[in-house]
Amino acid sequence: MTEDKLKNVSHYFSMLDYIHGGVCLLQKDYTVLFWNECLEDWTGISKGDIIGQEIDQFYPHLKEPKYRERFSTVFEGGPPAVFSSQFHKYVFPCFLSRKRLRIQHTTVEGIRLDDDNEIYAFIACQDVTDLTERIHAYRTMRDQAVEEVKERERAQQALQEAMKELESFSYSISHDLRAPLRAIQGFSEILAKEYSTSLDEVGQHFLNNVVEAGTQMNQLIDDLLAYCRISDGQEQGYIIPLQQLFEKIHRQISNQLHEQQGILELPGITPDIYVNESLLMQIIMNLITNGLLYHRKNIPPIVKVSCEIKNDFLLLRVNDNGIGISKEYHEKIFEVFQRLHANEEIQGTGIGLANVKKATTLLGGVLSLESTVGEGSEFFIQLPIQNKNKIDIMKNYV
């Protein structure tokens, strides 16, 4: 190789100093004949240092078969070689910063110069660092999104299964609990009625206690079952006019009214809308029952139910003249099994209000309470009206 040749080559390829990629020309014996400015920039090796030298001196890894063999093919007149960024990060290692390598896509083509019969290797290096990083970032993001969707589906699936399990669980519990309870109540009642003469006063009293406990437990099971069923969405069902609901309530409550010697005022004129029967029944009946139950001593309970439509909401008010609820308990009373009064005074199960809250939430509504101890309470419920005239479960709750 002569000075002339090098001069010719550098002249011939001088335009390649302006391109934005690395270009190197190798002779068959791996001597560098051309090294463009971009490569100078990327590798920090100047033309002066590398031109005329063997490339192996600077990059010994190129002696490895995986490079040597493919370069040989090119020098022998064979097809060009492609070194992709995924298999080899680079042919010539170049650094972007102290630690970051440039990721490159390199091609090696055989070319002839002038009338030389020789083949030279024309090496072109393309910087694909940005591209690679962008693609990796995109892939990560996409994988994350896919994973999130899968996670959501898994959670949804788990939820469905849990709900199903709860349904069958709560149902069988209530059934299994009721059987021995029937026996306890049944036989105790029979004893109390027909064998009371064999017992002294204390004995009779104890027997009555058993009966009473049994009755309470039964109510508890009923309330608990109702609570579970609201949770598992079983209360999707009949939609009836609000007017009809109030009529039903009026019929069902008469026994209780008589027992408590109470008065119930239902709305005179009912708005013309349709409601989810079982959920609204839960809400209103529980509130009325509480209003009747928690009355002041010697003062007959008066419960008033009123409702109106305002801006696409049904506003329901149930107020009573009972014992009232102290402000500090306004949150707690809606929890399951939370009672503020010992059993002796008033017989509640502690679940009723939890049912009210749950049913209200399912309907997409809001529940609030105002109360003065010793005077009474007012429960205020706001329920959104769907499709102009219907109150039913809000879909995202099921």
């Binding site: 149902y171 059934h175 009721r178 059987a179 021995p180 309870l181 029937r182 026996a183 109540q185 049944g186 036989f187 105790s188 009642e189 029979i190 049994g214 009755t215 039964n218």
Partner: protein, 143 residues
Amino acid sequence: MDILLVEDQRMDIELMLYALKKSRSPCNIVVMQNGQDALNYLLDDNSENQHAGHSWPNLILLDLKMPGIDGHQVLAKIKQTKHLKQIPVVILTSSSELKDRIRCYDSGANSYMVKPSSYHEFKMLIDKIREYWLELNTAAEDS
């Protein structure tokens, strides 16, 4: 025989028998404690029927939740069998589940009653069942 009671819970059986004993007129009751026995009794009875002078029950009180063959299957079998389907079957169960009710009526149950929790109400219910199905109601066959 007046009543065939199909019920697995011993204590429920005792309460039932006690309530019936205390009612106005006496009743002949046969008790089967599981579905398979009840079906065997009703189906095998065919041949013995002619000889023993045994008659069909006038009323079948059927519980739903029983181990082995449950009440639903017993009901279905009775209402599909030519010589049994005319016998009134009153479902007497602790379940108030809608799906149980629908299934029973679909299978041809004549009546569906939920066992009350208090004995007092239970006794009232039994009296009324007896009165309605054994005294007021006219059976298909004279027994």
